[in-house]
């Protein structure tokens, strides 16, 4: 293609990505020229400003219709907007969290943390707004590579190194597996554009290769479960979460997970929506039992193993595995509620999890320990930490008047919505939720029922802001979920997700 075709594209729709990219580069340059001992606080604010700007940009794009650049390698539709908002919001909170991070050893290399965070974010955003396997893959890798480094950011900290290395290795294997699956999908359709793939899936030629497609699907799916830390590729999570610095853990458990679900939705739903499986009946129906099994396994493993954890970060790692399992449930019965349910749950999850991690960071930083006992008598020592923490835990446990409950409720609607309703999956989810009560309420019990020694906890203003924000949103979304839902229905039309505008005409204007 020639230059003017290239220029003919509406590059402005990529504004958010450009902003992030620009800020990231800028940060790296500034960091380069900054004196070694001078504080990197300004970088944090700059980064924050950048994310905020990107967020604004997206809100300005809300009423834009579907736009695509370079044959869907970049694609702006409701789906990408909706989920990019989550990604940016999450990153913003993580930034604030990191800005008030106290530990000294991270001090020296704070700088790169910020632009690594941004580059990771950029990768995630690409995953959200691309409909081409290649760009999706690149985005995924950009996210992964940045997060590998972030996990190992505390160079002097053995655990940090170890977690980083484990992350790299498991990540590498996962990538390989995913790619292997992708390569077959590509091979069978000869396309990397998702919509084209979906079209070619209809080819009679393909009916012969039902099995191969099935295998490809499962391999790819399994590979992608790595990012969302679901079975079978979940085991890295506890170790990495434990070793990595808290802000990074928060990032992994929220933003990176969200990105994982985004790519899952994109690839699986668009590509296989009408794909023939074995004996050429719909593949998505055929794989249901397998996804079910994975979801169930994830929920069970996550919740049951979390029972045994004394280390709060590990416990949250398992809890986040379990949560991934919950979110997988709507996949099984791919009801039309799929998107808003997952979106809402991820939104709720964002608030409650980052909130919880904020408090965890405050306490771990003060007590120099990750043991649950750091919560002893928190209610006595500083009720203004204990009460929000209780909200977050209740929300994670899915107790009403918290966002978590509405999310779970939605997931149930997803599971029981269509015929045949998946009662036993719902039952497993409910049972594991009960198990989760045990460890969530254990923390609550430690906070309220035990007498705490240890000093009053001091809360940096930034973190206080996050806490307030997260707690309020957790409750508000629990009481008035329509705030979020109406926003979703009002601004996002999910049909755009399936709209293949390339097919209509490649170059508008």
């Amino acid at each position: 293609m020639d230059l003017d075709t290239l220029l003919s594209f509406k590059w402005s729709v990529m504004a958010p990505e450009f902003i992030i990219l620009g800020v990231a580069t800028l940060l790296s340059l500034i960091d380069l020229f900054m004196k070694k001992e001078s504080s990197r606080k300004p970088l944090a604010w700059l980064a924050g400003a950048g994310v905020l700007a990107a967020l604004v940009a997206i809100f300005m794009q809300l009423d834009l219709e579907v736009t695509s650049i370079l044959y869907d390698t970049y694609r702006l539709d409701s789906f990408s907007k909706a989920f990019k908002i989550l990604l940016l919001l999450g990153t913003l909170l993580v930034l604030v969290l990191a800005a008030s991070y106290k530990k000294e050893d991270i001090e020296e290399n704070r700088g790169e943390f910020y632009y690594l965070l941004l580059s990771a974010l950029l990768g995630a955003m690409m995953m959200a707004s691309s409909a081409d396997l290649i760009t999706l893959f690149v985005g995924l890798e950009l996210l992964s590579l940045s997060s590998y480094i972030m996990a190992g950011l505390e160079r002097r900290n053995k655990r940090s190194n170890e977690s980083a290395f484990k992350y790299v290795v498991s990540g590498g294997i996962a990538t390989a597996i995913t790619l292997f699956g992708i390569s077959y999908v590509f091979g069978l359709t000869g396309e990397t554009n998702l919509f084209m793939i979906a079209q070619n899936m209809q080819e009679p030629e393909l009916l012969k290769h039902g099995f191969l497609l099935m295998f490809a699907f499962i391999i790819m799916f399994a590979g992608l479960t790595f990012k969302i830390a679901a079975a079978p590729l979940h085991m890295w999570a506890p170790d990495v979460y434990e070793g990595a610095p808290v802000p990074v853990t928060a990032f992994l458990s929220v933003v990176s997970k969200t990105a994982g679900f985004v790519i899952l939705l994109r690839v699986i739903i668009i590509t296989f929506i009408a794909a023939p499986g074995i004996n050429s009946d719909n593949i998505l129906l055929q794989v249901q039992p397998y996804i079910m099994a994975l979801a169930a396994a994830t929920m069970i493993i996550g919740n049951v193993t979390a029972l045994r954890q004394r280390n709060i970060k590990r416990m949250f790692a398992y809890s986040s595995i379990a949560q991934a399992g919950y979110i997988l449930v709507p996949f099984v019965s791919n009801s039309s509620l799929l998107f808003e349910l997952i979106w809402f749950y991820l939104l709720a999850y964002l608030f409650m999890n980052i909130g919880a991690f904020t408090i965890i960071q405050i306490l771990t930083a003060q007590e120099k320990s990750n043991d649950i006992s750091i919560f002893r008598g928190l209610f006595k020592r500083s009720p203004w930490l204990a009460v929000p923490m209780t909200f977050f835990l209740l929300s994670l446990a899915g107790i009403p008047v918290t966002a978590g409950f509405v999310g779970k409720f939605g997931i149930f609607m997803g599971a029981l919505g269509l015929e045949p309703a998946h009662y036993w999956l719902a039952a497993v989810m409910m049972a594991t939720t009960l198990v989760s009560y045990l460890y969530y309420f254990n923390v609550i019990a430690v906070m309220f029922f035990r007498d705490g020694e240890g000093a009053k906890v001091s809360v940096p203003s930034g973190m206080a802001a996050i806490l307030a924000f997260c707690a309020v949103s957790t409750i508000v979304l629990g009481v008035m979920p329509d705030l979020a839902l109406d926003f979703f229905y009002g601004n996002f039309d999910i049909n755009e997700f399936f709209m293949n505008i390339e097919a209509v005409d490649t170059h508008t204007h």
Binding site: S170, I218, I219, A222, M235, V304
Partner: protein, 626 residues
Amino acid sequence: MLQMSWLIPLFPLLSFILLLLFRKSKSESTAWIGVLLTGLSLVMSVGVCLAVWQGEGIKTEGTWFQIGERAITMGFEVNPLNALMLVIVSLVSFLVHLYSKGYMHGDERFGVFFAYLGLFSFAMLGLVLSPNLLQLYMFWELVGLGSFLLIGFYYFKPEAKAAAKKAFVMTRIGDVGLFIGMVLLFWQVGSFEYDEIFATVKNGDISDGMLTLTALCIFVGAVGKSGQLPLHTWLPDAMEGPTPVSALIHAATMVAAGVYLVAAMYPLFQASEAALTVVAVVGGLTAIFAASIGLMQKDIKRVLAYSTVSQLGYMMLALGASGYVAGIFHLTTHAFFKALLFLAAGSVIHAVHTQNIEEMGGLWKKLRLTGPLFLIGALAISGVPLLSGFFSKDEILASTYADGKYGLFWLAVIAAFMTAFYMFRLFFLVFTGEARQEKKDGQKDVHESPSVMTFPMIVLGVLAVVAGYLNTTWFGTFLSDYLARGPVELPHGDHHGPVWIPLVATLASLLGIGLAYLIYQRGTLSRDWITRSFPGLSDVIYNKWYIDEGYDQTVVKGTTGLSKLGALFDRYVVEGLVTAVTTGVQRLGRIGSRLQNGQVQSYGTAAIFGIVILLLIVALTGGYFS
């Protein structure tokens, strides 16, 4: 007058409430509240009774609450039967109030005692006035409550506590029977009203089996309250209560409620021959059985208690032998002379501070009034001619004979003989001979009771003599004529069987008295010749046929055992299941965390393993290899 008869029970209730409020006040003049109010209701009930004597009864009802369409009603009814009962109850109650004024003198819970008396009288009068089964049942239970409270009046005594509990539970067993019968009847009749029930029964809308069943269930209730076999064991123990209570509740009124119930539901029983027979047999057996125990008791009140049981047996026998009038008649006379006996016994105990008859003796001279009155009572109950007991007992025997229940007839005669014997054994041991009780120092000399106590006894003494003439073959059968105007149409054909029956009865009682005289007065026969001649039998009798022990061994032990078993079940099975589940989950968790061994490569292996399994399943289910 009649319209106001609903007030009768309310006076005692009022006294109950007032006395509870004045509980604190130390002065014993509060007793007058009770006396006064019961006196009022006595006056009214006499008035009512007379009114019914001349004219008709009355029935007034209002809806209490509604279940769907059906209205549950409450109200009051006055008919000859319960008018009579009203008089008896309120009279005895009044007298006992009076008596207690003296007897309970100096008790720290003086006021409370009268309050309880008031509560009981309220319940009893209400029971009598009830126009339907449900209301009767409710008061039935309240009566039980009153008795429970009064038996347990000396709450600090373990025996009293036990006795009260026993009384409540035993009667409760009967009550449940009554409850079932009542409810069954309701679904047959669609109402609790007596008259509707009787109407349905008359129309024969109820199957015979159901009739018998309901009748028997109701009779179970009567058995419980009236201490018939096999639920009689509570009544003797109930003597732990203060003596006036025994006189009021466990002689004259409440225990007679069972008899009253059968009488009130008589048409139902009449409709089922089987039921009547059961009533008769139970009554007869109880009569002789209790009498036999009475022979050897050492506690003055227990002797009287067993005699009560036996007399109640008589009444049941009468009703069972379709001697309706005879039953009511004996109820009336018994109320008087048994109350008299108890009050007299009370005054004896009041005097000598013991209940063991073997420690008494020679009181005739010391208790100038009590002695003769007790004698009257004894003569009356023994059925010596011209006293009330004679006529009523004669009626019973006659009707039994006329009903062709000869076996029961002879049982009754023997019981009569025994009655006479143990009553006079009692009399002689207590009043004649030498004082066997060595006087403890610091104990004031034995003296006659104050007039508040003797006056009621005198009244009752008079009644015990004259009450018999209510219904006699010679002067006229006022009572039966009067009762004939009730809802129950009396079995026709005159019950006055052969002439020799009164003679036999008289003979039996005289024999009994004579024997007692020979043994306990003259000493011609040594006292323990029975014990010596039939050691085994006498031992069994002395231990009340080991009934209590039997119950303890079987029912009580069984229940507690079952309960203990249940506790174990709860602990190990119910709880066990839960713990099993929880530990299972914990195990799972341990396994999960064991897999998490920190080796990144084993993580990878696990992942690959999982994927391969999935693929294999796909291959197999999809029939890839086939």
